[in-house]
Subunit: 127 residues, 2 copies
DNA sequence: TCCGTATATCGCAATATTGCGAAATTGAAA
DNA sequence: TTTCAATTTCGCAATATTGCGATATACGGA
C-alpha cells in the first residue's frame, strides 16, 4: 500500500499528526530555530544558514505553512515567514497534557534482554 | 535524491525531528491516546481499537520506541508498551520554549491574497 | 519597457514510509 | 513434546518525501 489510512481517525488526531509531521525534519527544525532568533525571515535569508537549494527550502516552508506552524506576509517582492505562536502552543499543550494525564507506570523494574539468534534486534525481554 | 541530508544539523535537531516525526502519523497519535487511558497495552490489545493489521501496528510501536517515545516490557509472551513520560515532556518543553522565546510579530496586519493566473496556489500576498 | 531579484511550481530521480500477508521466534499451555 | 498465542521480521507493492535544476510568476528599479 503506502498510503496512510485516514478514514478511522478523528480530525483532531489527523491535525495533530500533521503538525508533528511538519516538525519531523531537521531542516524544518533548523528553520524554526532560526525564526526564534530573527523573528521573521524570507527564503533567501534562510539559504545563508541552511545548505539546501532555494526550491527545497521553499518546499519546507510551504509544508510548515500548510501545517499551520508558520504564517507569512509579502512585502514588495519578499515573502517573510514567521512562527505561528498559537499553533506551536497548541502542540506543546497537547503533549504536556499527555504527560499529565497518563498514570504512573507501575512496573519500572529492571529489564533483561534476551536476544534472538537469527533476528537482528532482540524483541523478547525477560523481566 | 530523496534521502535527508544529515551532515549539517546538530544532534539535538536530529533527535527532536525524529521524535516529532514519530508522532507525525494519526495511527501513532491514536496509540498514544489509547496509552493515556490504559497505562500499558500490548500489540494485541491495540488491534481492537485501531483498524490496521497486527504487523502494521507492531511497526508503528517500533517506530515510537526507536524515537524514545515509548518503552516496553515483556511479561510472559506479552509485550506491554508504555509512554516514556520524560521524553514526551522534553518535546513538550522544547515547543513551549519556542513559544516563549520568539519575539512578537510586529506586523500582524491584514493580508490580501493575490492569486496568480496559472498557478494553483496564490503565493504572492499584498500587505 | 527591460532587467534583476525573490519565490513558488514543475519534472524528475532517489529514497523513505505505509500496509499487508507470510514466515520466524519465543514462551506458555495442553 | 506438541500446539497455540503473541510478537517481530521479511518481502513485496503502492505511495509519499526529499532534493535539485529549470522554469514561470511577480515586483521593483534602471
Amino acid at each position: 500500500m503506502g498510503a496512510t489510512k485516514m478514514d478511522f481517525y478523528t480530525d483532531h488526531q489527523i491535525e495533530m499528526a500533521k503538525r508533528c509531521k511538519s516538525l519531523g525534519h531537521p531542516a524544518r527544525i533548523a528553520i524554526i530555530e532560526k525564526l526564534m532568533e530573527d523573528d521573521q525571515l524570507n527564503c533567501t535569508d534562510l539559504q545563508f544558514f541552511i545548505p539546501l537549494a532555494q526550491s527545497t527550502i521553499s518546499q519546507h516552508l510551504k509544508e510548515l505553512f500548510n501545517a499551520g506552524i508558520l504564517g507569512f506576509k509579502v512585502i514588495g517582492n519578499n515573502c517573510y515567514y514567521y512562527i505561528n505562536k498559537d499553533v506551536i502552543s497548541q502542540v506543546a499543550n497537547y503533549l504536556s497534557q499527555i504527560r499529565l494525564l497518563i498514570k504512573d507506570n507501575k512496573t519500572e523494574s529492571f529489564i533483561y534482554f534476551k536476544p534472538s539468534i537469527k533476528q537482528k534486534q532482540p524483541y523478547f525481554m525477560r523481566i
